[in-house]
């Protein structure tokens, strides 16, 4: 059970949150090719190491926020 530091509520147990996947995947603002659109919808990074990802404090303040998590050690640091 990880502990996530909600920017509004402070540290809470992981099961108060929903996972939001990779951060920084912006909704395409312009015309896209089929490949570009498919990449937006379906493709995500899966690194071994530091990963910018989103969490949603669903059972708390209902805030979306971004953290950096190390996918091997689960070390978490504030996203720059």
């Amino acid at each position: 059970m990880m502990s996530l530091d909600c920017p509004h509520c402070g540290p809470r147990d992981e099961n108060e949150f929903h996972y939001g996947g990779q951060a920084g995947v912006a909704y395409p603002a312009h015309e896209t090719t089929d490949e570009e659109w498919a990449a937006y919808v379906f493709l995500r990074d899966n690194p071994k190491g530091w990963f910018r990802e989103r969490w949603f404090h669903v059972h708390g303040c209902r805030t979306w926020f971004t953290v950096e998590r190390h996918t091997v050690t689960h070390e978490i640091r504030k996203a720059p």
Binding site: D34, A38, G60
Partner: protein
């Protein structure tokens, strides 16, 4: 203390473990091994026990070395591979091998004893958690506590002291246990509590064994100090499994701690100095130590001899001339008569929890053991568990660890004096794992799993080099003991077989739990009615009283149908359908998700979320909408109404309400934060009754006369039974229909009034039939995440004018645009009585490709026959298909998916002709969500804790700046407030008075109740006064009103669940 073992009456002493008591009663054989059926005795004095496994009550397998004796305890030995469910045997599902059968297990009285345990869990928080109450752990606790940290100490024993309890070490001149008992520990101390898992971010799970049932503690610590000690190990030599072969430390513990030393003659196999300590203590207890075989002095044990029962009666000792060579004869083998062979093979630091925390290990050549290679994140070891042996050394190390973990500086720490009994200089343990013997007796590496050296040799002989592979091939280390005494032996034997160093072989991965944990403990309070929260509507009790048959929709209980006397489901649904199509019927639709959407950009936001247009919707109008994911697939549907220029009410499907709200907030917060829009769930605030049927106006005229003139797809605020409510003219059945809403407390009164006026109650099954007759798809039934609106034949709802909406681009992908996708069609079975199975596959010809599947299938009263909906590719109306399911093939014909009233001529219903019933204006009785619990709450109250509902508290959710002013204002999130009390609401506040109710828990033990289900830190230094969090398995707002007074704001639909949960927790105090 009286107890029985395999039915034989015995006596033990208070403080005994079952193992100690068995030894006291001369029991030497406690069971037979799992695979080979060899007699086995007690091997250890702790949780590492591989042999002495027993059944006690409902616990099918416990280590006798960990069972505290109590009067009347009944224990049974285990033989073979465990208990067999005889019912399963009778069904032929289990092959019963008589060789593995325990006669006791055939006694029906012994089968499936009722588990009376009441397990639960608890959440604790601290700065420093110390695991292990031996010298190092006690010292760490003192140091951390005196540094000002909040400290928790857990220890698996009933008494603190760790190895001091088993030894004769004196500290400051007093017996070790007295020194431990005399410590002033500035900590919360949990004894008989075993830490079983060490997870990310200082999260440790521990099991407290209590008389009424285990409690699973979830402890969040800033820093963890592991002082888990070390386990003595054995080594592999022939006949090393006989009853009478025991770890030297265990023999010493039985003699010193329990005063049990039922051996006349003993041999000590001392590969490490601790063997001499055991020998001294055994001598002191009156046991004659007739030989000490020390490999470091050239002597090894090469075998054992046994009596007729296989119990140890002699030990073979050989001179060991230097390096061992297989098959080489030894000089001077002699047999020494003995009843006990105490094996001191060396020590393994108990690094299990450290390993779980991903701590790195290294093999220490001096200690001949794996030890922590520095700390792990937030976790460090102290004392024997990092290879620091000796009482004074462990205490000093514990002080250092505790001080460092607390980040402070403790004063007045003194290491007590400790007399050293060592008679010879310290020597490192022998690097000996395997002794070749002269007998045919197997040499065991893992006693629990019956894995021998020969088995390991077979594994390495096949080419396996990884200890993980050998573990899985031989099952070594996979027993209930998880290889605590065997893993080092397996690694050592492998290194000997492979000719490598143990450090090269490495260890297997340490995984939780450290000791076996019962499923009852994991389940805790989440069992039976509380296993999953059940959500109920304001009308639930009325449905129960009418004999409704319920179905689960998400977590909701919804009436599926309302059978009258003797009616089958088919008969009841037929009758309900007829009522809705020919007269008037009513359904509880309170479970539909309702989201209040406000802000200047609310319309623009909805345009981006739905496939159709909302920004141009007139005030007072309703519009059906479909929302897709970015992948273009249907995600949810429902009707959204414009209440005001800047205000909409969205409805969602019952099962998707939470997911839709989550998604709206996600798009708003992460993609379009510039839009002025906010979302408030009002699902529980409004109780909803659908009144449907050609005569619906007769009911509406009485309950909400102001709404009589409402046009189709329009909404109005209206007095409902004299109470401010809302009426929508929406139809999911094709008939004239109204959705009538009142605040939760009036829901039941509305339902009763509607039925009194002649509406026939109907459930979800009838709703499904009626909508399917109209060809309306249900999200989750006709859709499965691979279906677009176009696939459902709803291209008309997908805007071509809007520049964008979520999913639009995906509808232009080649895959979603191809014209041979499965589409929604209707099916008519050739035989009008045949009900095809939902899920049946559709084929064009026998053996042909599958074209699709049946999604819905019903008997229709309106059509007088069966019909179905399906998703199928490359079919057109008129095609003849076969629906195949479960070996049955039913011919069907494809038709358009609208079976009833394709011209929508029914939805205006019948005009009011004769005089309608007079309007009902007397304000009805209101009922709060916890009203049915009032008497039980009162009865459960004690001086320690009381529970009551504070009903009908006015509440509003407010966005923006702190509303301040009168009443209670709780900040729920950024720019999000809950205002409670009798205050005058401002214009933009959302009334949520019916959304939640307040349960007040008070008394000195209130917090003890809350910690069994609330994961946040309730300590005054950490708890901000209120928080949105979890309690049990539901979301709540928890507010500390005053010391010992907590208010729990719970969703109305979850109130029954939480009330039952709180009552259970109060009873369990």
């Amino acid at each position: 203390m009286r107890f029985t073992f395999d039915g034989r009456p015995m006596r033990g002493e208070p403080g005994d473990t079952l193992a100690a008591a068995l030894l006291r009663n001369g029991v030497r054989v406690v069971g037979r091994s799992v695979a080979l059926g060899r007699p086995r005795g007690i091997f250890t004095a702790g949780p590492e026990e591989p042999n002495a496994l027993v059944r006690v009550g409902a616990d099918p397998m416990l280590a006798a070395t960990t069972v505290e004796l109590h009067d009347g305890l009944e224990a049974w030995s285990l033989r073979g591979k465990g208990r067999v469910n005889l019912d399963a045997v009778a069904l032929g599902a289990v092959d019963l091998d008589p060789a593995n059968l325990d006669p006791a297990n055939l006694d029906p009285a012994n089968l499936d004893p009722v588990d009376e345990r009441r397990c639960d869990k608890g959440y604790l928080h601290c700065d420093v958690l110390v695991v292990g109450g031996g010298p190092a752990g006690l010292a760490a606790t003192v140091a951390a506590g005196r540094s000002g940290a909040r400290v928790i100490l857990v220890d698996e024993q009933p008494r603190l002291g760790g190895d001091l309890l088993n030894s004769r070490v004196r500290l400051d001149g007093a017996p070790g246990p007295d020194w431990a008992a005399g410590l002033d520990l500035p900590a919360r101390v949990l004894t008989t509590t075993t830490a079983v898992g060490c997870y990310d971010h200082g999260y440790v799970v521990a099991v407290e064994r209590r008389a009424r049932g285990e409690r699973l503690w979830h402890i969040r610590a800033r820093r963890v100090v592991l002082a888990t000690g070390a386990h003595e190990r054995s080594l592999a030599f022939p006949g090393n499994d006989r009853p009478g072969v025991m770890l030297a430390s265990a023999a010493r513990a039985y003699a010193n701690r329990y005063g049990v030393a039922p051996w006349r003659r003993a041999v000590v196999f001392a590969c490490a100095d601790s063997g001499y300590e055991a020998a001294r203590d055994l001598e002191a207890a009156g046991v004659a130590v007739v030989a000490i075989a020390d490999p470091r002095d050239g002597q090894v044990v090469t075998g054992t001899t046994g009596d007729a029962d296989g119990v140890l009666d002699g030990v073979l000792i050989a001179e060991r001339p230097g390096k061992e060579r297989p098959g080489e004869a030894r000089a001077g083998v002699r047999r020494v008569e003995a009843e006990l062979l105490a094996v001191a093979g060396g020590w393994n630091p108990a690094v299990h929890l450290f390993g779980q925390a991903r701590g790195r290990l290294r093999f220490d050549e001096e200690l001949q053991a794996f030890v922590p290679d520095g700390p792990a994140p937030g976790v460090r070891c102290a004392g024997a568990c990092r290879g620091v042996y000796g009482t004074r050394e462990a205490i000093a190390d514990g002080y250092a660890a505790g001080t460092e973990a607390a980040g402070g500086s403790a004063h007045g720490l003194r290491v007590p004096s400790c007399e050293d009994r060592r008679q010879r200089p310290h020597r490192p343990p022998a690097a000996l794992w395997l002794v070749e013997g002269d007998s045919d007796e197997p040499a065991f590496a893992d006693l629990h799993r019956d894995v021998t050296v020969a088995d390991l040799a077979r594994a390495t002989g096949t080419g396996m080099r990884s200890v993980e592979h050998v573990k899985r091939y031989t099952t070594a280390g996979t027993g209930a003991d998880q290889g605590k005494t065997s893993s080092a032996v397996v690694v050592g034997v492998m290194s000997a077989l492979l000719g490598t160093a143990p450090g090269q072989v490495g260890t297997t991965t340490f995984r939780p739990p450290y000791v076996p944990v019962s499923f009852a403990a994991f389940a805790g309070r989440d069992r039976g009615e509380l296993s999953d929260p059940v959500r109920t509507t304001a009308m639930h009790d009325a449905h129960v009283a009418r004999g409704a048959v319920f179905e689960n929709v998400g977590q909701w209980k919804r009436p599926r149908y309302f059978p009258l006397d003797g009616e089958s489901m088919a008969q009841a649904v037929w009758r309900e359908c007829v009522a809705a199509r020919t007269a008037v019927a009513a359904m509880d639709a309170s479970t539909l998700g309702k989201i209040d959407i406000r802000g200047a950009d609310a319309g623009a936001f909805l345009d981006r979320i739905y496939t159709n247009v909302y920004s141009t919707l007139p005030v007072g109008a309703c519009r059906y909408g479909v929302m897709c994911g970015a992948d273009g697939m249907v995600f949810d549907d429902g009707t959204t109404t414009r209440l005001a220029a800047d205000r909409f009410l969205m409805t969602t499907t019952t099962g998707n309400a939470a997911a839709v709200l989550d998604r709206l907030e996600e798009w708003h917060q992460t993609e379009w934060p510039e839009l002025d829009v906010s979302f408030t769930s009002v699902t529980d605030h409004w109780a909803t009754v659908v009144v449907a049927g050609p005569h619906a106006r007769r009911v509406i005229a009485a309950v909400a006369p102001e709404a009589l003139g409402l046009a189709f797809m329009r909404y109005t605020d209206a007095a409902v039974l004299g109470v401010p409510g809302r009426v929508f003219r929406i139809s999911f059945s094709g008939e004239l229909a109204y959705e009538v809403n009142v605040p939760w407390p009036y829901g039941r009164a509305l339902w009763e009034a509607v039925l009194e006026l002649g509406a026939v109650p109907y459930g979800t099954e009838t709703m499904h039939v009626l909508r399917a007759e109209k060809g309306f798809a249900i999200v989750g039934q006709e859709t499965d995440g691979t279906v677009t609106p176009q696939d459902l034949g709803m291209a008309w709802i997908v805007s071509r004018r809007k520049p964008d909406f979520v999913g639009k681009r995906s509808h232009a992908r080649p895959d979603t645009a191809r014209d041979d996708r499965k589409r929604l069609v209707g099916l008519l079975p050739d035989d009008p009585e045949t009900l095809v199975d939902e899920g049946a596959q559709l084929v064009g010809s026998p053996g042909g490709p599958m074209l699709g599947h049946v999604t819905s299938s019903y008997r229709s009263a309106a059509l007088g026959r069966t019909f179905a909906l399906a998703l199928a590719a490359r079919v057109v109306p008129g095609d003849r298909l076969t629906a195949v399911s479960g070996g049955t093939a039913s011919p069907v014909t494809v038709v358009a998916p609208v079976f009833y009233d394709p011209g929508n001529e029914r939805r205006e219903g019948e005009p009011l002709t004769d005089a309608p019933p007079p309007p009902r204006v007397a304000v009805p009785r209101r009922e709060s969500p916890a009203a049915p619990f009032a008497a039980r709450f009162a009865a459960a109250g004690t001086d320690a804790v009381r529970l009551r509902e504070l009903p009908f508290e006015p509440m509003w959710e407010v966005r923006g700046a702190d509303p301040g002013g009168e009443g209670t204002v709780l900040r729920l999130g950024p720019s999000w407030w809950l205002v409670c009390g009798n205050v005058s609401p401002r214009a933009h506040w959302v009334d949520v008075s019916g959304q939640r109710t307040i349960l007040e828990l008070s008394g000195p033990a209130a917090e003890d109740v809350l910690v069994t289900g609330c994961p946040v830190d309730l300590h005054p230094s950490a708890f901000p006064g209120h928080a949105q969090t979890l309690l049990g398995r539901t979301s709540v707002v928890l507010e500390r009103r005053a010391p010992g007074v907590h208010r729990i704001y719970v969703r109305s639909s979850f109130t029954r669940y939480l009330a039952e949960w709180l009552l259970d927790a109060m009873e369990a105090l």
